[in-house]
């Protein structure tokens, strides 16, 4: 199963300086630079953990985790993923320079994607209550092996 959380910048024309971030994370105690694709993305590994963070120049930020462990969905907590995002934003001061769009998106990939969605339904709503206050939950499920969940609000995200 793969779990992804993604957020993006409110202004679509704003960009994130990946070269600056790459310099910040070289020899960093908490993150390892796995890959940098010029004008595209920077991929980081959270040291000693299973989380990866991918930052796109066009303003998207992904927190993702792959898990093959039995009952992995029960071990992966969405709030932990959200906390990882908050820690990263604090570390990079990105939230000082940019405003995030008031939505949080989750994607679940794997043969149990739809059942994971229902397992995590309450967690999703708890996260929405905490971060967005009032929001709509929408799903985009193209097939049985993946589902994309959008928590979107009219209010500023509480991050």
């Amino acid at each position: 199963m793969r779990f992804e959380l993604d957020v993006s910048l409110e202004k679509p024309t704003e960009t994130i300086d990946l070269t600056f971030l790459k310099k910040l994370f070289l020899n960093h105690k908490s993150y390892e630079v796995l890959r940098h694709k010029l004008n595209n993305y920077l991929l980081l590994q959270s040291s000693g953990e299973d989380f990866k963070i991918r930052i796109h120049e066009d303003g998207r930020i992904y927190v993702k985790i792959d898990s093959d462990i039995k009952d992995s969905s029960k071990k992966v907590l969405l709030k932990d993923m959200f906390q990882k995002l908050k820690d990263f934003l604090k570390e990079t001061h990105l939230s000082n320079h940019h405003i995030l769009k008031n939505e949080i998106n989750f994607s679940f990939y794997g043969p149990t994607a739809h059942s994971v969605f229902w397992e995590k339904y309450n967690e999703l709503n708890q996260l929405g209550d905490e971060a967005l206050i009032t929001y709509d939950l929408r799903t985009y499920a193209e097939d049985n092996d993946s589902i994309y969940v959008k928590l979107a609000s009219a209010n500023q995200m509480n991050i």
């Binding site: 694709k37 066009d58 229902w118």
Partner: protein, 379 residues
Amino acid sequence: MSGNIKQTRESKENSPRVHTEMEIKGSNPKLSGDFGEKSGVSSEYGYYYQKLIAAYYLIVQEAREIEYEADGEDVTIINEAPNRDSIEYIQVKYMEAGSFSFTKFTTDVFPQFWDAFIKALEKDSSKAIYCSLVSNVAWGKDLKLFMDRCFKLQKSGLSLHDFDRSLTILRRYPSMKSGRNPEDFRRFIWGLNTITSFSPDYVRDKILKYISECGISEPHSKLALIINHISEVGQGRITRRQIEDLIHSNLTLAKSRLDKPIYSSAQISNILEGLNKANSNYGTRKKIPDTEDIIRSMTSPIEKASMVFINSLEEKGKTSDIRGECIEACDIIKSDAQKAKEHAIAIADLKCKLWMHQIKYTQRIKSMQTTYINFGEDK
């Protein structure tokens, strides 16, 4: 005759074999009117359709095992997938003619689906639970609207609020929801699927095609054997393995069918060009619209026209015989001007929102192209 098929799926971790649970339920033909009251020929065809659908799920949908109990002319199939951690209840409805109405759905289909759904939910709330209606006929207008909204709720980001709002025109919809836990009801409609206009000929062709693609000869006679076997079982478990033993062949698709295609450079270039074209048609490179400027451009001609028309009419209306009409006309023009301004503001807002989606659409396309083209290059 009624039909119950149970198909049990166990986790691969617990058992080396995967079993699939399918339940076909039927009702007393004296109570149902779909084809039981018609001629013997059409009844027979209805029963045949049920078995065909059961064979379809066993063969084409690759369900591993079903438990079948024939009991009436309406059929429900339960398809439980262990690795997918999901369960699907399928009702099969054959009709001689006409279309399937929303009223018929709420009276003949929904109650059974709801009972099955609630039982499954109570047994294991972590499963994804689907209810699928299969029929050879098309949906009536109201049922089509309902099913279309259910589809969009799951797959196209329709919000629950918009779902409810769009169905207020369906007289029977409130009674479906009435007295039911809102969260459970939401989960139920999220999992509602349909296969419509699934004609017997089409189903048969799909089964025959699958059997042929397994490299099995005489697919027609093999299918006849399978249908006959389902009839003979009457009540009990039918496995895909049993079907394979019956036809003395493995239902394994030929390797070539399973292989992923390999694309040439020319094909990749075409795909990239296709993305460029889509971006050109639907994306944008323009700057964010200036909403104030748009509103101004749209409302200033209206304000000017409103002022000029009203002044002119008041001048003409000074004579007493058309004074009444003058007052009315001025009121209309003022009201129209106000509403036009309201729409101008909405249009400007929508143009801005459209731009946001267009720019993001463009960005996603660029990201796909860049990621593919620059793959493997060291930076």
